[in-house]
Amino acid sequence: MLSRGIRGSAGGFARPAAYVAAAALVVTAMAVAMWAGPLAGAGARTQSHASAPPRARVKFYIVPPPEDGSAESLFAIAATTLGDGGQFMEIFNLNKGRLQPDGGRLTSPQTIEPGWILRLPADAAGPGVHIGLLPAVARPASHRPSRPAAGVAASSHFPSLSGAAGSATVISGALLALLAAGMAFGLFRRRAIFRRIPMHVRAPRGPAADRTGSSAAMGPKMPSAGPGWERPRVPGPVWQAPAGRSGQGIPQLPGDQGTAPADLSWAGEPVRLANRILSDADQQAAEIRQQAACQAGDMREAAERDAAELRATLMEMSAELGRMAAYVTGILQTTATPATARAAWPGKSPATRPATKSATRPAEPVTMPGEPPTQPARPAAKPATRSRQFRAARLPVLAMGVALLFGLIAATTEMALHGYDFFVFRPPGTGATQQGPPGPAPSRPPTAHRHYQATRCAQAGTRGAHHHSRPDTAQATSAERR
């Protein structure tokens, strides 16, 4: 799963995942080394130097500090525990070369130090004989012989510490490492799922995450995950967290009020998570729709209110104009009346009346609600648009008229110059299109009239023929007719 997530992200979070895993391993190793390393090392060294297995229950004797100036000796210990001082060599052989709590080692039967732990033969008995696991002795930081008291104190205060206790510590360290790895794995999965969610679907992380813009909140590969980074603003209504939504990293989804926060982790069940996200999006959309509807309703009400006010104002103005028009009409109709005898201004005070306007303006049609419709005064002139269109229409008509006039004048001139017969009943061939080879038209003197004069009598009976007809065709037609 983790490898798939790393591959699936195409390197997006492989490096951070490696960082986190390495950091977890280092922390775990340091914790294990600091906590259980010395005991485990001592146990291991004891195992290497002692022949007896460290886990067996044995009899041992802790050398007490000197009393009354006389120090203990192996002879005295053998006499006390074994009943015969001559058997001190057995004790020496059992403890020869073994590390002692103060760092020293038993190398000579004549030299023992207080606090040393001496293993005794199985038949030992008597005061000072302990039975149990041989205490593990930690290696001192340095082989300074000035720490026997500390080692003796440790041994005296933790007499039950042995090789089994060191193994338990190692197991605890391993469990701690596994726990750290599991946490890292869970973090990877959560971020992998978080990355698959589109940005606009992700729930906001609260004000703290937005302010800091930390990479831990938005993922390690956010484009500008640094100080001063701000979440890109999406156009549209501003998202507001619902009342039941907390500012924690995990959004509080609908229907999750009773569940524990641990169940809301995004590390499991992507489908369920997607469903929750969809439901959350639906809820947000519904809220936005509701807000928009409320806003639209408010705007509509405001617009209707404004329109009503404007309508009332316009109606009032129209009524005022109507009264003013009536007043002006009355003045115009009673021009002979002295100024002092004129009717008073109806309605409002004269101060609100325009001074110069509407002296010649016709009355506008005023239709007050609840009042009988009044006959609007017809404007004296036509609307300006009609005049403009009429002026525009006069141009082509004028052009047509000019052309027709020109044609009539020209036709009249032709008829006056050449006679009615020439104008209406031109004989075929007269003025016909000249036949010739391709190329520029040769200059031809205006001899058509002379040609007409010469051929008029000869072809008098071929009226109505076409000027385009060739002379031979026209002559043939004439011959057919004849």
Binding site: A403, A410, P446, H468
Partner: protein, 300 residues
């Protein structure tokens, strides 16, 4: 190859147009025309393609005479300029006047933009015909004599005098400026329609002297079909009939009742008459136009 792309509703939505501006398809054919073709990643409506294919042939008269004008070939312009551009203008006028009866007959509207296009090309063709005739033909009296030296010339000049201002006010901007006066002005096209009868009657008379197709020696014994006056009369009959308000109402009722076939069957003879005579107009236009484009004019 174009791939038709049809949505569930047929037409591709036009988000930039207000609902009032977008005319709903009144006919299944209109809806079919509103579907899109996909040409190399771009969407083009079938209607656009169809209108383009139907509008391009309107430029044929100007195209036929373009070579003679560019090369200043006076022989071609003198002999067949009036036939090519005049006949082309007549065909374009008939096509322009055909759109409204076609809407009445079929109940479809997708080809209505062709009316404006045909009218514009008609104005250009008629104006070009007048200009070329005034400077190339050998009539007596100079430019004025070539334009108004005869009754049929005067009728043609009056037609151009009407069509040219209509051409100038055919733009959308002029339409907005003129407002409600635009349509009555454009209806002066009917005056041009009447003047064309006068023009052809004065030009060719009521005989059969132009009952040929090409040179006068190749008489095909169909003089009526070759006479331009009769061609215009035959093509104008169904156009005039389908413009009568009672006929329009009857056709609309039949379409509303789903009896389109009845309308088609009733107008089938008139449509056949129209097609036959119009085919002769197109035949002559192509015959003389190709000869003009080859600079080998055939006058007849």
């Amino acid at each position: 190859m174009a791939t038709p792309v049809a949505g569930p509703s047929g037409a591709r939505p036009r988000p930039n147009k207000a609902p009032g501006q977008q005319r709903a398809a009144r006919n299944p054919v209109d809806a079919w025309m509103d579907q899109d073709f996909k040409f190399a990643g771009s969407f083009i409506k079938r209607k656009t393609v169809a209108l383009f294919l139907l509008g391009v042939p309107a430029l044929a008269p100007l195209f036929f005479m373009s070579r003679a004008v560019i090369e200043l070939n006076s022989n071609t312009m003198n002999q067949v300029e009036a036939d090519v551009l005049g006949t082309g203008a007549m065909a374009l006028l008939i096509l322009t006047l055909t759109i409204t009866p076609l809407v009445t007959l079929t109940g479809q509207h997708w080809f209505v933009p062709l009316r404006k296009w045909y009218g514009i090309v008609l104005g250009c063709t008629a104006t070009t015909d007048a200009v070329l005739a005034s400077i190339t033909t050998s009539f007596a009296g100079g430019v004025i004599g070539r334009l108004t030296g005869h009754t049929f010339l005067l009728a043609g000049f009056v037609m151009v005098a009407i069509l040219f201002p209509l051409l100038l006010i055919s733009s959308n901007r002029a339409q907005r400026s003129l407002g409600k006066y635009w349509k009555p002005l454009q209806k002066l096209t009917y005056a041009v329609w009447g003047l064309l009868f006068v023009h052809l009657a004065l030009l060719e008379g009521f005989g059969f002297q132009h009952g040929t197709n090409g040179p006068s020696s190749s008489i095909d014994h169909n003089p009526v079909l070759h006479q331009r006056l009769y061609q215009l009369t035959a093509c104008s009959l169904p156009l005039l009939l389908l413009r009568l308000p009672p006929v329009k109402r009857w056709a609309a009722r039949q379409h509303k009742a789903g009896h389109e076939k009845v309308v088609y069957l009733v107008f089938l003879p008139l449509a056949a008459l129209y097609i036959i005579f119009f085919a002769y107009i197109v035949n002559e236009e192509i015959f003389k136009g190709v000869s003009a484009f080859r600079l080998q004019p055939v006058n007849g």
